[in-house]
Amino acid sequence: MSILHTVNKSPFERNSLASCLKFATPGAAVLLIEDGVYAGLRGTTAVPLITDALERVKIYVLGPDLKARGFAAERLIPGIGVVDYAQFVALAVQHAKVQAWL
């Protein structure tokens, strides 16, 4: 069973996502929540970090947090999934543990 990582900080303000992706092992899942969702958007300086990681781990964005900030799923980097709160819970159940990168 692998780890579900959650990242709630903007990649432009903190290194939470970079650290998470450095240590996440193949098969892990990364869920971007709160200000972490900005990392999932196309055209940003964080794109190389995400596209590199997508080859090893699954990356999801929490839909309500994306919508709150004014962005539609179409603005996300291809390969990123969008989940709702119920699917967030399902991901937590499917993985051995949840590790938060605050």
Partner: protein, 136 residues
């Protein structure tokens, strides 16, 4: 009350919703405007996300305060600036941002959109020209 009008610069560098900074800044901006001070708003770094169009935080149980930015023109706030490099780093353009109209009720002078995207030298000049800088 003193008659002196000071140039206030509100420096906004935080994304909305994740922290309370954006909301608190807006509250203080409205207070400054109510006291007839010269209010300048500058959005840079993650602060540019405060002005994105289409915000809808109903799904996260928070108040949508982005419509309040659109009323700033009614509070005689005329100077709203956005750092161009911060937009570019985030894959954003001015089309992603709210438009804020301004109108002088006495002279009928009006500006369709007071949100101005500026380069780094202009950002520095705004900071130099300010009497007081409020950082959020």
């Amino acid at each position: 009350m003193s008659e002196t009008i000071k140039k206030f610069l509100y420096l906004n560098r935080k994304a909305p919703y994740g922290t309370i900074y954006a909301w608190e800044s807006l509250e203080v901006v409205l207070i400054g405007a109510a006291f007839d001070q010269e209010v300048n708003l500058l959005f840079m770094d993650d602060g540019v996300y405060q002005l994105t169009k289409g915000q809808d935080p109903s799904g996260i149980g928070m108040k949508n305060f982005s419509p309040t930015y659109r009323t700033l023109g009614d509070y005689e706030v005329k100077n709203i600036f956005v750092d161009r490099d911060s937009l570019a780093a985030r894959g954003l353009t001015q089309d992603d941002l709210l438009q804020i109209a301004w109108e002088d009720l006495d002279t009928d002078e009006s500006v369709e959109n007071i949100v101005t995207v500026v380069d780094a030298p202009r950002v520095s000049a705004l900071m130099d020209a300010a009497d007081v800088v409020f950082s959020f």
